[in-house]
Symmetry: C2
Subunit: 172 residues, 2 copies
């Protein structure tokens, strides 16, 4: 555990700044101490597609780039002023060679991530846009206030205009 703490670096990130940009290698896994981030890519039409959010106590990285040492297709941007703990791939690998506890820790986190991803895929298949928004709102009422609506629309898989329509309907 002491080893683990020794290899962690703390960093402040201002709102709208990036911890990862498309085309770069993702060299760090980040633990969010404070603030909020979104990861997004830019599709063929030039539109930003938000694929994840991260808030306090979550880990955030582009796993594909981080694990496979490939150029990232994602951008990770702070949506508000933030503090993260960074851990580099090389140093994490070293610790993962021998530490039972750290392996357990990340295994358990990844199990939870898997469950969340699976639920999200299930929701995307099963729910209409309106239902997706209502479900998200129900489980994360405070979070809906915390981010611009157009990012949420993008995360839920539809346009900001459509989200506006849903809200108008709801409040009428």
């Amino acid at each position: 555990m002491q080893d683990f703490l020794n290899i962690i670096e703390s960093e402040k990130i201002s709102a709208k700044h990036y911890i990862l940009k498309e085309g770069h290698y993702c060299n760090y896994n980040h633990f969010i101490v404070k603030g909020c981030f979104r990861s997004f890519f830019i599709n063929k039409k030039g539109i930003e597609k938000t694929i994840n959010f991260g808030i306090e106590d979550w880990w955030l990285t582009d796993f594909d780039s981080f694990m496979n040492r490939t150029q990232s297709q994602l951008n990770i941007q702070a949506t508000e002023d933030a503090i993260v703990l960074k851990i580099s791939k090389a140093k994490l690998d070293l610790i993962l060679q021998n530490s039972l506890e750290i392996n357990k820790y990340f295994r358990i986190i990844l199990e939870r991530v898997r469950i969340a991803d699976q639920r999200r895929i299930q929701y995307m298949f099963n729910l209409s846009g309106e239902e997706l928004y209502n479900t998200f709102y129900e489980y994360n009422p405070e979070f809906v206030q915390r981010i611009p609506q157009y990012m949420l629309a993008s995360y839920l898989g539809f346009t900001p205009e459509f989200l506006s329509k849903i809200r108008a309907k709801k409040h009428s």
Copy 2:
């Protein structure tokens, strides 16, 4: 490793039979030695939605039910005659308490699963139905032959009728 092999049970499953049914508790993680499975749920309209396939050398379970000891919303069905290795939650937990190697093994698998889930979500956002089919076909040409088309349509998130339309277009 010997401990690990000791707690594994082998089982034969005939085509169309289930290793998990909706409403039951998922007590096992399954390693597929031979054959093919699909996991699906039944939506509000009574339509089967395939959310995953599993083939040789993959692990397959309902992680949500398996980890959280909740009733499963999923069915897991063999699409052809199959052989699996089963490992119960209780026994797996025991081994995971102390084994560095087994923790590493599952951590690494889950990292790969995370990457696959992430890519799938990205594809679902970015590609039209036609592009989803073409991409899937490109990377898994043999697998497309292996399962009924209506299951693939369901996995890709559209109707069998629409898949038929895509294929007609492609071959004309």
